[in-house]
Subunit: 121 residues, 2 copies
Amino acid sequence: MKYTPINFSKKFKLFSDYWAPKTIAQLNNYQFKLVKFKGEFVWHKHEETDEAFIVLQGQMRILFRDGELKLNSGEMYIVPKGIEHKPLAEQECQMMLVEPAGIINTGDAGGSLTAEGDVWL
Amino acid sequence: MKYTPINFSKKFKLFSDYWAPKTIAQLNNYQFKLVKFKGEFVWHKHEETDEAFIVLQGQMRILFRDGELKLNSGEMYIVPKGIEHKPLAEQECQMMLVEPAGIINTGDAGGSLTAEGDVWL
């Protein structure tokens, strides 16, 4: 049987839109998603789940209501469920997110940056 | 409030043993673990869960009963539950694993490479 690795760099070449996560792998009922961040996202929260942010290339920030976090390439952070947060990136930043299948990127906030769910690369 | 990123490189400096995963973060009931691979691991399977292998530095291989896979830095693979596999690495390889809390590294195989569970860095 042929086994094929999932290569992040090759996957990132397949899309150019920002803030719209693409699923690359599924582990039980959890999904690994690649996404490009640039600019400011919306304040939102996910009442039902924690969310993992892993920076693969570049840097970004996550604002919280009572502080903020800077994440560089080779760093990760888990935003706990129910905690409002606002991701932003001055330059394009390549991220991997890990979260349960079915999670909407804008959480409770909705709005124009809401991405189509369950898009696979 | 102070928010602190999880830095992979800093975490890898905190241990030197091989094949013994250390938990660095938890997402709901799933854990992110760092581990150094070198040499050959045992053939084993996890009947209850898929398992994510993400190469952060170096390269490694996963043998299957009917094929094999080479994974380089910046690549990942999800071994489905119930599938026998044998990880190996000629040189030291820095990995991140993602799997449910409570999973034992040697799965059904046991033996001397079985690591203590739930060790946090």
